[in-house]
Amino acid sequence: MTADIEIRNVNKHFGAMSVLEDLSLSIKAREFIVFLGPSGCGKSTLLRMIAGLETVDSGEIAINRERIDHLPPGKRGIAMVFQSYALYPHMTVRDNMAFGLENIGMSREVIDARINEAARILEMPHLLERKPGQLSGGQRQRVAIGRAIVKEPKAFLFDEPLSNLDAALRTRTRLELAQLHQRLQSTMIFVTHDQVEAMTLADRIVVMNNRRIEQIGSPMEIYERPATKFVAGFVGAPAMNFIDATLDRSSGNATARFSDGISVRTAISSDLLADDKYSFGIRSEDVRIVPPGQGNADGVVDVLERLGERTLIYIRLGDGQQIVGSDVGNSRVAVGHKVGLAFDGQKSHLFSAAGRAWHAREA
């Protein structure tokens, strides 16, 4: 069973504080959608409104074209995995999974069959008679997912379910979630503030900030063509480099000039740009390290971060600004070295004072 979910002009207040403002979103059936944003942006509230755990002040939420925002959580045909897993501590894993099915009066045979199938999918038949306190974090997480699976819901909701796991387990569970989505072909909504989870799991990412949606798009769209300066800064590690620039729009494509005389020719059409002052943005992998004098600018290496397959190099420019560039894993560069920086103008971005983004034309 799967579902498309339609959210129309939804508003939410907690007292005088507005949490979501006029938010609309369409989620297609079988889609894996990730709500990504910083703490307090409203992403968890939106998820809880879909689940029915928060009321909708105004607007509508529909599943398969049927309004559900007035229904109690148990009647919406959805299942949710909580950040804390919220397993019933006094019940065995089997009872945890059976509880929801017993409440709708399902027969014992069907309940057992569903539990056994879910346990098989999640490779945990040996855990069924244990209580949550006897399980590791990863196992509890599986049980929480199992409790959702047995309900055969129209949609799965995940509220930061990986944040309590250690790094290795998080990576493994991420992969398992992706496989589970492929296997079940259900609509899944996943809330996280971790952009790696968002990038790796999502069919589409909904980037949220300050009560609103900043951008909806595929992971690579979000990464390569961020709609706003916030998205550009929030998605990607390290964050995109931003340098204040004035524009030379005398030729077809704009040239960005920085305060210390450095200039970079972008692939962004001058016709699109009305103002003179912009923020120039470029990702670290589009800033190559070259010998001094051979790039767009020179600088001194402040810090090195060796990540194995590549090295992040933090370089201080003449005017004091810091830029992050990228070099090969076994880079010979050392702290204190003078290096050159070559900006890839084709992959640069410009952001207006209001935060709107312009990119090179798509090839």
Binding site: G52, P73, G74, S84, A86, Y88, H90, F99, G100
Partner: protein, 282 residues
């Protein structure tokens, strides 16, 4: 290298001192109990002539047979069990429901009502005794079981304890149950209430022991001998010592009287230790 050795030696000495203190304390606690048992096994006339005869043979079970045959102690024990048991059960039910309500429901005046409930902690029983006596008199509640049970059901401490305990249970469990299509009562009954067992045990033990040892209200409310609780009954026998069969007989009654509470203790030892150490509330 010598420092740890000294420290271990010091610790061993400390442990021994502690052990000696524990043994002394245990003797101080157990001696009166052994004294009571010893006296109960002696002939009354022999004890009257020489109280130190408790340390000599012969011993007899006659006091126990006399107690079984003539004393009202079993009736008083039964009354105490009914009153303490009923009060404990009632307190647990009411405190759990009230605690859940205060912790999970939103209703107008909730905070004020909670303060009023807590205010009950500050009002001593003696302050309301006369008024309560008059009300119960009008309602003809004296010399009844409900007359003995009802006053104890206004358990401010129980409501406070259960409220705090329910508040400590993560709300995600309620939400998970809501998503599992459970009604509010089923969530309370199947999900939350089982998690409060440690608090219920603490509250139940304190309530039961308090009710079992209560003297003041049963003394006022139970004026008929057949409605005496154990404390009132025992006191009435001891204050009429001259008319009793002697100290050995009284001590045999005391042994019978102490037996139920000892059994309760043995069964709930684990919970009592937890309750007294305060660990259950955390």
């Amino acid at each position: 290298m010598s420092a740890p050795a000294i420290s271990i030696k010091g610790r061993a000495f400390g442990d021994r001192v502690l052990l000696a203190l524990v043994i002394l304390l245990s003797i101080a606690m157990i001696a009166p109990v052994l004294w009571v048992i010893g006296l109960s096994l002696k002939d009354n006339a022999e004890l009257m002539a020489d109280p130190n005869s408790v340390f000599r043979l012969p011993y007899t079970l006659r006091n126990y047979f006399n107690t079984i045959g003539t004393s009202s102690v079993f009736l008083w024990v039964l009354n105490s069990i009914i009153v303490s048991g009923g009060l404990t059960l009632g307190t647990l039910v009411l405190s759990s429901l009230a605690g859940y309500g205060f912790a999970r429901l939103n209703f107008p005046g909730k905070n004020i009502l909670f303060v009023i409930v807590l205010f009950g902690l500050a009002v001593p029983e003696q302050a309301v005794l006369v008024a309560r006596h008059q009300i119960f008199s009008i309602l003809k509640f004296h010399n009844t079981y409900h007359g003995l049970i009802l006053p104890g059901l206004s358990a401010s401490f129980g409501v406070f304890l259960m409220t705090q305990y329910f508040k400590a249970i993560p709300k995600e469990l309620d939400e998970a149950a809501m998503l599992d299509n459970a009604s509010r009562f089923r969530t309370f009954w199947k999900v939350l209430l089982p998690l409060t067992v440690p608090a219920q045990a603490t509250l139940g033990i304190f309530t039961f022991l308090g009710a079992w040892n209560d003297y003041l209200w049963p003394l006022i409310s139970a004026t008929r001998k057949d409605m005496y609780t154990l404390t009132v009954g025992m006191a009435s026998t001891q204050t009429n010592f001259a008319q009793s069969e002697g100290i050995g007989f009284l001590m045999a009654q005391a042994v019978f009287a102490g037996a139920p509470i000892l059994i309760v203790y043995l069964f709930f030892q684990k919970y009592i230790v937890t309750a007294v150490s305060g660990a259950a509330v955390r």
